[in-house]
Symmetry: C2
Subunit: 871 residues, 2 copies
């Protein structure tokens, strides 16, 4: 028996997403649970893959199966595909395993031609409607299948409206549409040299192939890259009987969510348009009405719709995003899928559904993508700030955003590459705008509703979005928009508040987000489950406090050099760098000691009873010296050292490859007095806060160790200071090391013998293991990700097969020698969910990340445990 490539909706179910795609599997599932779904069938993703592999030829047997499925559809509907008396019309839609909204092609009204259009006219009793369907088919098919630019059809349509003196498409009468159909057919003939194909089988065949082809179009590829969707899973194709929402005043179409996707509230959320096709709602061309208004306009369908909300959510136990069409009073479901939602909605719905008994705590945790949390944690506009609100639109995706206005996506990318923040303003967005939306701080559109392209995509990306802001008039050609008598031009500052839909002139100051009770509850569940400790990389008291409030269980990395950059300190560290002998160096260090001590006291006080890892001075010394002549002159005056001397020192310290130069523990080995000062400052701070009843947990970290002998030498300096101060027993402390040099990871057994703890510095470890510096790799890393050499940027997500392998070797070797040695990570990867999960799997004890990433890491750590159980 040959492979089955075609599944009727009645043959599949929701578990078959890989084969039938998300849309197909759910159409089958809805059919199975008795919801009213127009008859149809799905061509499998496997068919798509075989088609791609086979030089764009169907696999053997597919066409025959398609023909059989069409026969079955004709039997079920009692209509004929190409039957001039009683024509069957079909839609063809893409449907990948993962939703890629708007990225691939759709063709409606297949089956129409010069004969069948008249049959449809008779059957529907509305020849104008039939002609409108036909011209839509020619237009879509022409654009998608025949590659005739959409502009041609749009120009003809505009011309026709002008000629007839009407404003809306719907105002064109039957005669006008008759003419328009002929003009469209002429355009096809002119541009392609061939007649528009009248044969319904040819139409179907070509439409399916076009959907297959659209899997590899540019915007689909970009979308997959941005969303980490593999390129080789293919799309299914859903072939379905047409139902019409544009067949009169007892027809309509809508999109709904079982809960509010912006807030998570349980409510009848959705929008509809009377007498319209589905695309009209999604594309944002007309601004639709809230579904609640159906109570007046179509009370019985509204009651049915409310039942659908319940059935879907009860069945799927998650927020459903579904599409419906009402054809002459009958409500059909055309699609359902898990609804994209804001972080806030994800959290609220997860917590509520757990309490409603739909899901377990673990399921609730898994419902929130750790990457999304950023949205909840980042600043909002300061409510006390003065704001010049110039317009209000729909609060389509929450968050505060400020940037320079830009009207074109390419230009947006260009400005962001030049280091600017932008707000993308469009009449409406389309899939071609994806790259511009991705780089923008926020998106403002003049048209389109809560489920418009702009709104859906912005929520998915966690971008602020104000949609459907009719008050503004966007002139994309002139690069400006107007609101009343205010004109905003490209480059002007604008702020938008996606949480309340405000559009504000200029820049608005922001403040920290308040963390809601739902969020706290969810995080407490995550904390119950996770085994990884989550710490923070911070040293400035304000950041330390924020991190603690976000749940940091200590400091995983306090970078002492960050403490040297204050105006009161920099001259002294510069004096130290410029010292020509140990005496001068010690004198400068003596000045720095009380400042460092004070910093440490603050940090210890905030992190009372929590461990604090303090890294000794790390960067190359030349980083502290000024580069510009002007600054050198100023420093020369401050320190009374000649500018020549300063330049000479800077030159002597200059390095070919600073990353691989004189830094880290190497500084302490050549100038032990630096580390001795730091140790003294730490211990004195510890003693001082102890006297105030604080319990400091001190861990001193030696950076850039490659060989155990380096560690031993530095540890001797630290222990020497401790001994001199007689703090033993009074003030316990540990000495450990960063693992950031590959050699250290390879010899972790030797290092673990001497070190009390290890902490991966995966930024440097990645740079050295892979042989590219982060600063320089920008020249080629983009191309590397494009060519799929690395599937993700290894500086964002740990390269598990390379750097990760080295980490595993390190953990294994260290634990062989000292089974309970504490091992953590403090590179930026420590706050990236995939990397956090990897750290859990290889058995690390803790991850440390920037303060705002702490909740992300906490949630990811819980995900790691749950994912581990399900394996």
């Amino acid at each position: 028996m040959s492979t089955k490539y075609v599944y009727a909706f009645s043959e599949g179910d929701a578990t078959m997403k890989n084969l039938l795609g998300g849309k197909g599997a759910n159409l089958a599932e809805m059919t199975k649970i008795g919801l009213k779904v127009p008859t149809g069938f799905t061509v499998t993703t496997e068919s798509c893959n075989l088609y791609q592999d086979n030089n764009c030829q169907y696999p053997e047997g597919l066409w025959a199966q398609l023909k059989d499925a069409m026969l079955e559809t004709e039997k079920l509907t009692g209509k004929g595909f190409g039957d001039a008396e009683n024509p069957l019309l079909m839609s063809v839609r893409s449907g990948a395993r993962v939703s890629m909204p708007g990225m691939m092609d759709t063709i409606l009204n297949l089956g129409l031609n010069q004969e069948t259009v008249e049959g449809l006219a008779v059957k529907s009793g509305d020849r104008r409607f039939a002609l409108d369907c036909y011209r839509r088919l020619i237009q879509m098919y022409g654009d998608v299948v025949l590659d005739v630019s959409m502009k041609n059809f749009e120009h003809a349509l505009e011309a026709k409206k002008t000629q007839k003196g009407v404003e809306l498409d719907t105002d064109l009468d039957e005669a006008a549409l008759d003419e328009l159909v002929n003009e469209f057919l002429g355009i096809v003939k002119e541009k392609t040299g061939n007649d528009f194909p009248a044969d319904p089988d040819t139409q179907l065949d070509m439409a399916i192939k076009s959907v297959f082809d659209s899997w590899n179009n540019k915007r689909a590829r970009i979308y997959r890259k941005l969303n980490n969707i593999p390129h080789d899973i293919g799309t299914a194709v859903n072939v379905q009987v047409m139902v019409f929402g544009n067949i009169g005043h007892d027809s309509g179409t809508g999109v709904a969510f079982t809960r509010n996707p912006a807030t998570g509230e349980k409510e009848y959320y959705g929008e509809y348009l009377m007498d319209a096709q589905g695309e009209d709602v999604v594309a944002g061309i007309r601004t639709p009405k809230p579904v609640t208004e159906m109570a007046q306009e179509m009370p019985s369908q509204y009651e049915e719709l409310k039942k659908v909300y319940g059935i879907l959510e009860n069945h799927y136990k998650d927020i459903q995003d579904f599409e419906f069409t009402i054809e002459e009073g009958t409500l059909y479901l055309l699609q359902t899928r898990n609804g994209k939602r804001t972080a806030q909605a994800a959290v609220k719905a997860a917590v509520d559904m757990m309490k409603e008994g739909y899901i377990t705590k673990e399921e609730a945790i898994m419902r929130v993508d750790p990457n999304q949390l950023d949205q909840l944690l980042h600043p909002v506009f300061d409510p006390s700030a003065e704001k010049q609100v110039i317009a209000k639109g729909l609060n389509a995706s929450p968050g505060a955003a400020t940037g320079k206005v830009v009207f074109d996506s390419d230009k947006a990318v260009e400005m962001v590459e030049n280091g600017e923040a932008v707000i993308l303003v469009r009449t409406e967005t389309s899939p071609e705008d994806i790259h511009g939306m991705f780089v923008s701080e926020g998106i403002l559109t003049a048209r389109g509703g809560m489920t418009s392209h702009a709104a859906v995509v912005a929520r998915g990306m966690g971008k602020s979005c104000v949609a459907g802001c009719d008050a503004i008039h966007v002139d994309e050609k002139e690069c400006k928009f107007t609101v009343g008598d205010i004109t905003v031009k490209e480059g002007d500052w604008l702020s938008i508040d996606g949480s309340i839909g405000e559009v504000i002139l200029g820049q608005v100051p922001t403040k920290e987000a308040a963390i809601g009770a739902d969020f706290k509850e969810l995080m407490s569940w995550a904390d119950e489950i996770r085994t990884l400790h989550v710490k923070t990389n911070a040293e400035v008291p304000r950041d330390v406090q924020v991190a603690k409030d976000f749940g940091a269980e200590g400091i995983g990395l306090a970078r002492t050099e960050h403490m040297f950059f204050g105006d009161d300190r920099l001259p002294w560290i510069q004096r130290m760098v410029l010292a020509t002998d140990e005496t001068e160096r010690k004198a400068a260090l003596d000045k720095l000691l009380p400042m460092q001590r004070h910093d440490f006291e603050e940090v210890f006080t905030i992190m009372d009873k929590l461990p604090v890892i303090i890294r000794l001075l790390d960067p190359p010394l030349h980083e502290f010296l000024p580069k510009e002549d002007e600054d050198i002159q100023a420093l020369s005056q401050t320190l009374g050292i000649s500018a020549e001397e300063i330049k000479k020192t800077a030159e002597s310290l200059a390095e070919f490859n600073p990353m691989l130069g004189f830094r880290g523990c190497r500084l302490g080995i050549i100038y032990p007095e630096i580390n001795a000062m730091q140790a003294r400052a730490i211990f004195e701070a510890g003693m001082n806060v102890q006297a105030k009843g604080i319990n400091p947990i001190i861990q001193i970290e030696v950076p850039l160790v490659g060989k155990i002998d380096e560690f031993i030498l530095i540890r001797k300096i630290i222990d020497g200071v401790a001994q001199e101060m007689g703090i033993k027993d009074k003030l316990p402390y540990q000495v450990g090391t960063m693992i950031e040099v590959p050699r250290a990871a390879l010899t972790a057994d030797e290092i673990a013998r001497e070190a009390d703890f290890l902490s991966f510095g995966t930024n440097d470890l990645t740079q050295m293991t892979s042989g590219f510096s982060r600063d320089d790799a920008v020249k080629f890393l983009g191309a590397y990700v494009d060519k799929n050499i690395y599937s993700k940027n290894p500086f964002e997500t740990i390269d598990q097969e390379g750097v990760g392998l080295l980490m595993k070797i390190c953990v294994d070797k260290a634990r062989q020698v000292k089974p309970d040695i504490e091992i953590g990570i403090c590179g930026e990867h420590g706050g990236e969910p995939e990397s956090v999960k990897f750290c859990h799997r290889i058995g690390l004890d803790d991850v440390s990340c920037s303060p705002f990433r702490v909740p992300v890491a906490r949630l990811a750590a819980a995900h790691a445990v749950i994912e581990g159980k399900s394996k």
Copy 2:
């Protein structure tokens, strides 16, 4: 029973070097085989280590054992230590496991005091002699044990000679010595506040402790560092009955080698001084006579000495360097050890001894240190050059050296650090000059013989040395020397030929060394034994030919970028770098193609039938652009591109860490046309030479691969060119990769699946694995080696525990997947003996090094096999 710390010479043998030190073990061995050795005993190295560990206290029981040994010595000699009638005098000498000539302390004539000196006077019948011994004891003991500067004694001695109107020490009469002894005793009293210790036991005790202490003096530490001797093996102490070569005209002392240590000739080689102590010969204060002259002066002792030559060489089966003293006609042996020798002597003696049946081929091979071969292979003065020979001295250590004259070792180091080559000129050298000798090209001394300090050390270091050149008068204070009416000042150019003893004014051109028959024979034995293939890193035809003549079995690394630096090529590679699009870039590459092809033809022709690994373009592109304004202007004119444009490109290509930047295979991934051109040039060259009957063995190497996907992409480019050219089957070729990025080594299993061969680039691998760039590490690597963090510079000798571990992981992973994959090394380590041996042990197939290192690698590879068998 307590540990035995003291061994009589009659209790030990030559196998006990670790415990008794080299000198002690050999004194015991000579005693055992019946040679006449003054009675004595050895305090073990273990005692020294325990002493060091124990805050400079003897281990328990040592002192009692020393007392017992002294009692036994008194019994054997019939004399008493401190006996005023018949005094026993002892010497105390250091003696480590490895010879460290002159580095540690020696004290003679222990046992003398105001009473015993008179006993010695009576017994010897020479009160002047007895007083001279006594003043020598006070002087040595004062300097070494009591830390009274030697200058004090020397000033007193000089003053005494002036006062008495005599020139030589030996001209001072008994009365003068009586006075001098009193003055010396006064100096000790004045400088230390105490009387010179009269008690012989105290003298012995303190002398032994001083020798222990001298293990850690500065010059001993430096010597051990230079010679890779561990710091923790300690020295033994030999306590021996004094015999006197300075007791009249039937007494004398000498140093001899059983074969000529400069040439390896079997002859009665050595020097002696009548009426002198041993130190007088070694220190080079008087210039001694060849031992052959003893035939006249002491015929019977000469006959006895000739027998000793035979006995020693027959017993030890190696060149012996021995010391003897004749006391009133009786020949005593004071020391024997394996003689240090030049490379030439090592080779000749090894080959001769094998033929004489003393040793096997394998032993002969092991007799030559691969590091020494450099001496044989490097240039000699061009014999046809004009030379102004201004003096002749002893040909103490062969080789041609040219440099600027310097008279002080500190100054020598300073000049060399400033990039100058120097010749160190001294009246005589002492252990304090070690650091100056180490950095000099050659050493010239006015005094001292073939076994003087300068001569012995220079041979050990492989430095050219002309010693005992009496014609020159060195004025170290004024920094000049004179020969007749010629004055040579600091900074003047001088050349010396250590092979024939010539001192030549100015610089002399050099030429290649001729390789002798002995050398060829020894190398042929090495080739029979070794299993590693030895290739060369070369691409310029002249170098390729030299390497082949030195026995290279192919090219392990041809760096294509080296071929781009010719005047005819550089503008075109620069044009390529400055190209703004692919068309421009291809046009420039088209110009380069025939030049590359021509280079490859030459290389293939020389390396007919031998494998040639060609590495694709590796360095960052900015390396090809000029840096100076002047050069930019010139290039601007040549290429017709504005200077601004050139600067802009250079800036855009500038990198923070070029080593970790846009280079290696990354270039080919972004600009595939570069590698395509190179592949085409290689294949065209291959076809062209094939047509001439040459058999090219082509291996193309992809640089800087970190991830297998990179390799696959570049391999596709190469295979694409091959396919396009239709060379398949006609011109076989392999494609492999460098292993220089840690990530590649870690994932070698994946890489081996696709690559035909692997070659370690250990320079970069060391830099990335250890996290320091070679250029920048100079700032701290010296201190690292001093502090023993790295025992050797990891850029010279593979860091076996770190980088080597990664190499092992790589080899294991690669061979798991492809057991017979060819794996080599082409970093500079490939010509360093320890590293070569390591490569053998981890199972590499070949090593590749610079042409002059090829014989070194061949010999080291044979050593590796032999050492492996003996384990």
